[in-house]
Symmetry: C2
Subunit: 394 residues, 2 copies
């Protein structure tokens, strides 16, 4: 008679509501004639899309949810890459995605792809160009939010999924959600755009342009051709600092930092770090350069700036195309988001209503700014859980 395993060895090392260990996946496609025709007219291929999945695809393939990540995110939404959850942080939306969570992996098959143009496994400016055998750099063609979504669609087709139960994402992820709805309305049952906009405002463009200029001002940038040498870390760090301020709010910064000094009783009267907020920003900048590619920042911010769901002119991204379909929408904004404020969510709702969509809207009162959707909040979890539950599967 063999020994009964002890409770300890029988227990998963992962938290009970975690999707546990997940693995990186890749899909490479070369559409006939071997490439994707981008919105600019340029051709790009072959294209590799890094992705992860959680949960199990139903036999009817009707329980798939696509999550679209924000600007600097990746496909690693939930779970861990190792067997030891104490050695690394789980995915970026782990509080939302897992067994029994807001996006319940006991019910849904969840997919997340790294966006085209990024540097987290999908093809982007740091990828090797098949033509030159060198990183693309500035030879990488401009990609739009629509192009990112077109690449995602190739993966969804490849997985044999004809209709997504939901597409969900915040910020630049929310733009992808909207682009999915207008490009492929018959492939989407419901959509949850969070903390996003239907067209990038002048203010948002301005901040992105400052971030780009900071990178391009760094002599190490060398017109994007830096992969063999020193990287434009100084410029990228300043760019990230700009981004971070836009992700927070005045209230959040008052609460989090105020005028607290860093390791000192008095002012330094020099240009070192005096205030905690300075330390925080410098830390965010130097952390970011270790994980992100400066050229990817250039391309993705430009894609966001180009984003505009025109409601009058028939284009590939025209909101009027939704007339052909009937989707359920849950639009979520945050009261202290000044990058994509609630009035922009309301503009989106008005435009969607004109096309006869089934609309729900919630502005969540929170003082933590644009990035609030990345912070664990039971209100967001309950909103998403309830909405998904109300979307019919057929």
């Amino acid at each position: 008679m063999s020994a009964i395993p002890s409770i300890e060895t029988a227990t998963s090392p992962f938290p009970h509501d975690s999707v546990g260990k997940v693995k990186k996946q890749q899909f490479t496609f070369a559409e006939p004639p071997g490439e994707l025709v981008l919105e600019s007219g340029a051709r790009l291929g072959p294209i590799t899309i890094a992705y992860e999945t959680y949960g199990t695809l139903s036999p009817a393939k009707d329980n798939a949810i696509l999550i679209a990540h924000a600007f600097s995110g990746d496909a690693h939404v939930a779970g861990y890459y190792t067997d030891d959850p104490t050695t690394e942080k789980p995915g970026w939306w782990d509080f939302m995605v897992g067994p029994g969570k807001g996006i319940d992996t006991d019910t849904y098959f969840v997919i997340c792809t790294n966006i085209l143009g990024s540097c987290m496994g999908s093809t982007g400016p740091s990828s090797i160009s098949p033509e030159t055998g060198e990183p693309y750099g500035m030879e990488f063609p401009m990609v739009t939010i629509g192009d990112m979504v077109a690449a995602q669609k190739c993966l969804i087709d490849h997985l044999g999924i004809s209709r997504l139960h939901a597409v969900i994402g915040g910020s630049v992820g929310g733009m992808q959600v909207l682009e999915w709805c207008v490009r492929y309305p018959h492939m989407v049952r419901s959509a949850i755009p969070i903390a996003t906009t239907m067209r990038h405002s002048a203010l948002a463009i301005a901040f992105n342009e400052i971030a780009r200029q900071a990178i391009m001002a760094d002599p190490n940038w060398r017109h994007g051709d830096y992969y063999a040498g020193q990287k434009p870390d100084m410029g990228l760090a300043v760019a990230r600092m700009v981004g971070h301020v836009t992700y927070l709010s005045d209230e959040a910064m008052r609460r989090k930092f105020g005028r607290q000094l860093q390791n000192k009783d008095d002012f330094s009267y020099d240009f070192g770090i005096d205030f905690q907020v300075e330390s925080y920003l410098r830390h965010q900048g130097s952390k970011f350069v270790q994980r992100f590619d400066a050229n990817s920042l250039l391309y993705i911010t430009k894609a966001a700036d180009y984003f505009d769901l025109k409601d009058t002119i028939s284009t590939p991204s025209c909101i009027d195309d939704l007339h052909k379909a009937h989707l359920k929408f849950l639009v979520i904004s945050y009261s202290s988001d000044w990058l994509y404020p609630t009035y922009q969510a309301k503009e989106l709702i008005q435009a969607l209503k004109r096309t006869g969509q089934d609309m729900s809207f919630c502005e969540i009162e929170a003082d933590c700014g644009h990035d609030a959707f990345l912070i664990k909040d039971i209100r967001l979890t309950n909103l998403i859980r309830g909405f998904l539950h109300g979307v019919p599967r057929n």
Copy 2:
């Protein structure tokens, strides 16, 4: 009989409500023992203060108004430097200061000084250090808003003025106004702080820190020692772009730029200029580097960050010191100013009320953001005119 001059030759070439041709003035002082003791404890001297005056000082010397300029301003508030008003722009507050204007030079003797640490004639990091015979660069000591005001006081003493009818300024100028009131309450009859704060917020510090990091990341900055070579123009331009976004508002940018393209019918799909707001920012950046010194930006932003009128601890800048005096205040904020929002003006008012000051407050509804006080607006003119008229001269 000599010829009667024709009307044309008798007419001033200047607009009738202009102060006309003005001249740059300088005052250099070396307080015993030859220098100013700064808040940091460092000593600086001799100090030159560039200033301008408009109107005539009354025999009783009781009609003087000091205007404090904002961060990148100068002493040239009104009028022209040449006899030909068509060849140059008038001073930065020409719509406010002149005969019959809001600050009426027929009634008041108006003084404006360039702040300590700047690069517009007053001593700053680009000035020649008497010790080395070279520009100070980073050897320039840190100066505070209090130090700027202490230097201004030396000039006011030199002019023989024992009490100012009013001290008026916006933004960093408003901080100087408040510092005047708490440091020298018996030298101030009334004060108009505009679009300002009693303590720099974490958000405002964050933007300043990004601007400083952008400059310091420029290899031409060379730890401030660039006066003999190439200047850190790229970094300074990015810093200015950051500043400009904070001076505007979301609404102003929507109205002014929206998503208007620059000279194009479609997107460029490259990293050139697509949107008008990008063009505007790049233009502001490149214009600024021609007139401003990067080190001065470092020093003045740091002075603003240090600014904090403590209301509990007795320091050189303690608001409780106002208990000793009774001043008239007109506090003005702008509804769309998100750098120093109205709630900060209200905090100031509460603190001033606790010290028993005579308070007036107005929030001006305007969608043009923080910089609104620099834009001609009859409401601001009337507010200031009316308030000044109500301040008794003795």
